[in-house]
């Protein structure tokens, strides 16, 4: 088992009602697997939202295997400025 810290921002926070969620997952889970879990948990509220992925505060472009202790964020469209 691995422990993953999910950080929630903007629409993800709004959809899940949490700032942060800790997941206990099987070994061999990838970022896209976790995104599916998160979208399911949001019960449709994220269906139209494009999410980028960050692992340990760095954008990643490829489906990446998660390691114990990773911090993940699914990043909705950003709005700085």
């Amino acid at each position: 088992m691995i422990t993953i810290r999910l950080k929630c921002f903007s629409q993800v926070k709004y959809a899940l009602g949490e700032n942060e969620i800790i997941f206990e997952l099987e070994n061999g889970v990838f970022t896209e697997d976790l995104e599916k879990i998160v979208r399911k948990k949001a019960k449709g509220k994220l269906d139209d939202v494009t999410l980028s992925t960050a692992v340990n505060k760095k954008y990643i472009s490829k489906n990446t295997e998660l390691k114990d202790g990773d911090e993940v964020a699914f990043i909705p469209p950003v709005q700085g400025g």
Binding site: F9, K57, K58, Q79, G80
Partner: protein, 138 residues
């Protein structure tokens, strides 16, 4: 020189000065909060950041901008937390030898910031309700 900061209170503008001998262009951009969002009046915007990652990404974009355009300095302050209508949320100052590269650098920097820096806006409506801002940057 590059300087980027994320601040939690009113933005103090970077110093302007008359002692620069080789920098012929000083460009300043202030992004301010508008009073309406999609036709609804708002009290303020509340900016949320992904702590550490937002400043790191901002610094990376500033560095890329300086590598791409022959500018001398790029200085940026981005505010987070509550920002009232009319107040500055983003302050950028670019110094360059000539205006052309300064204007191009300013435009590139702000476009990339709006694409990549993990900062979001929540709109605080007049009735106090807080909702994710629908503001999108194309």
């Amino acid at each position: 020189m590059i300087k980027v900061e994320i601040v939690g209170s009113s933005i103090t503008p970077f110093d302007s000065n008359d002692n620069q001998k080789e920098k012929g262009a000083e460009l300043i951009f202030n992004g301010r909060v508008r009073g309406t969002e999609h036709g609804k009046k708002i009290r303020m915007l509340e900016y949320e950041q992904y702590e550490d990652m937002a400043e790191k990404e901002l610094r990376m974009i500033a560095q890329e901008t300086q590598n791409k355009f022959p500018i001398k300095d790029l200085l940026c302050r981005h505010r987070i937390g509550g920002v009232k209508v009319g107040e500055t949320s983003l302050h950028v100052s670019v110094w360059s030898k000539h205006r052309k590269e300064g204007l191009e650098a300013m435009s590139f920097f702000i476009i990339e910031l709006k694409k990549r820096v993990p900062i979001w806006k929540w709109a605080i409506l007049e009735n106090g309700e807080k909702i994710p801002s629908e503001c999108k940057h194309e």
